[in-house]
Amino acid sequence: MPPMLSSDATLSRRQRWLSVLAKAPADRLEALWRTLRATPSYTVLRRPEIGLVMLQGRISGSGAPFAAGEMTVTRAAVRLESGQMGVGYIGGRHPRQAEIVAAIDALGQLPEWQRQLEEQILTPLEQEAEARRRGRAAKAAATKVDFFTVAREAGT
């Protein structure tokens, strides 16, 4: 496999897990993290820190961007003894979650951990997120309007 392709694939995998972990409920992620056994120790490079990100909207949804208002964000960074650096950025104020995301991000860079993270953490979180999404969409779908036309008598 050409190296470029390999790094692209790595990048998009990392992008996916960072997004799945960030959007997970904080307590659920912590519970799943606790099910992992013998996780290697790590050094905290950046203690969980709460800050703001300015959210941008677009004029009429698709035009020029504008500053729509901020949101709170928590970030953290850790390093494994083997050198892998993990980063966590999550919406909201959840210091513990940001650190766990960073730790999982670092672990995910070790090939021997990838399968376990996938099965024990990422797949369940994705399935739960999809179930929540479908649950909300199903209630909305029940409020979709079925129009019917009251036809007039023909020939008038």
Binding site: G63, M71, V87, R93, A138
Partner: protein
């Protein structure tokens, strides 16, 4: 003149304790939790996040609890808190076409692709007080229906735009987006700056201005092209990573208003647009914002600027309820010295008038 300005420390301390006591209310009742406020006063939370200009449901709930339900005070608390936090950067523009919509309506097309989805709305309630809520608010879960496999929810605006019937929104102008929390507002303001100001603006103020345009003070003949409410992902590029990740999913309300067309001898007529965006479910705010956004485009669209809603300086300088409430309420601060000086002036003037009156009376008696 020396005027004592010290004193009142004990009275102030006791006032703060009385405030906390009144906030708690009767100790016979359970204390409100932040989760209860978040879940059961959700639209108050949405308003505080929108006008506080900070998306964080639990912070907004805390602010509402601390402010005893005074939403403008809660907005002030949230604005004050945000100034204590560092800024990590700005998100990628949120893409509302990727919304998992809980509500989506158009009043311009009945058969809009994706359908009219009413979602949770007060529109069809009869506005009769429901006394069953006073006894017991328990309700069964809402009914469900199969979800379409296609998640695509095309924008009504895009459909009209393709036909050339609707003006496209101004494209990305490049360069960083201006931010009035960083650089003070200057006039005339570009449309993105105006939209930031309106997004933070007081709902009541914008509602009244939007209403004024409908009543003829700068009318621009609006239709709701589309209102949608639901969850959108937030993408952010952390400096350490250099690639975007989704850091959250947030609820937003969007209103794309289709307005009176413009054209000329050479330019074929097109409908024009106004835009509104709010955090959470806040469609009255989003609609009012869209009406005012459109009204403020009067000069750009060569319309006569005759009404308050079209006056950029008037609207943008008075939309912020934290500023407005601060300036109105500062009148409660001691103005003893100012008032003393005015008293002296008025007393002097009154004495002068009295002296003139007596002099006139004397003159008349002498004649």
């Amino acid at each position: 003149m020396y005027v004592a300005v010290k004193g009142g420390e004990t009275a102030i301390a006791h006032s703060l304790e009385l405030l906390a006591d009144r906030r708690r209310g009767s100790r016979d009742l359970a204390e409100l939790t932040l989760d209860q406020i978040d879940q059961q006063l959700a639209l108050a939370v949405d308003r505080v996040m929108t006008e506080g200009s900070c998306y964080d449901r639990s912070l907004a709930a805390l602010a509402i609890k601390q402010a005893r339900g005074d939403l403008i005070e809660a907005i002030f608390l949230l604005r004050a808190y945000r100034t204590t936090l560092p800024r990590f950067g700005h998100s990628e523009p949120i893409d509302t076409s990727r919304m998992v919509a809980e509500r989506r309506i158009s009043s311009t097309f009945k058969d809009v692709p994706g359908g009219q989805v009413l979602g949770p709305t007060f529109d069809y309630t009869h506005r009769l007080l429901d006394f069953s809520l006073a006894a017991n608010g328990e309700r069964p879960a809402a009914p469900t229906a199969p979800v379409d496999a296609t998640r695509d929810l095309p924008r009504v605006g895009d459909i009209l735009e393709r036909e050339g019937m609707l003006e496209p929104p101004p494209a990305n102008v490049g360069g960083p987006t201006q931010d009035i929390t960083r650089d003070p507002l200057t006039l005339p303001a570009e449309r993105p700056v105006r939209l930031q100001n309106l997004a933070r603006g007081d709902e009541g103020f914008l509602l009244a201005l939007g209403y004024s345009t409908q009543r003829g003070y700068g009318n621009n003949h609006p239709f709701v092209g589309e209102i949608r409410f639901g969850a959108v992902p937030v993408s952010f590029v952390p400096e350490e990573l250099g690639f975007p990740i989704e850091i959250a999913e947030i609820d937003v309300t969007e209103c794309d208003m289709v307005n009176q067309f413009a054209g000329s001898h050479d330019v074929p007529p097109q409908f024009t647009r106004g835009y509104g965006l709010a955090f959470g479910h806040a469609e009255r705010k989003a609609m009012a914002m869209a009406l005012v956004d459109r009204a403020l485009r009067a000069e750009e669209l060569s319309e006569a600027v005759t009404s308050p809603a079209q006056d950029e300086e008037f609207v943008l300088a008075h939309s912020d309820n934290v500023e407005a409430s601060g300036f109105v309420q500062h009148l409660k601060l001691p103005h003893y010295v100012d008032f003393q000086s005015e008293l002296v002036i008025v007393r002097t003037l009154r004495a002068e008038v009295e002296a003139r009156r007596q002099q006139t009376a004397l003159d008349q008696a002498a004649e």
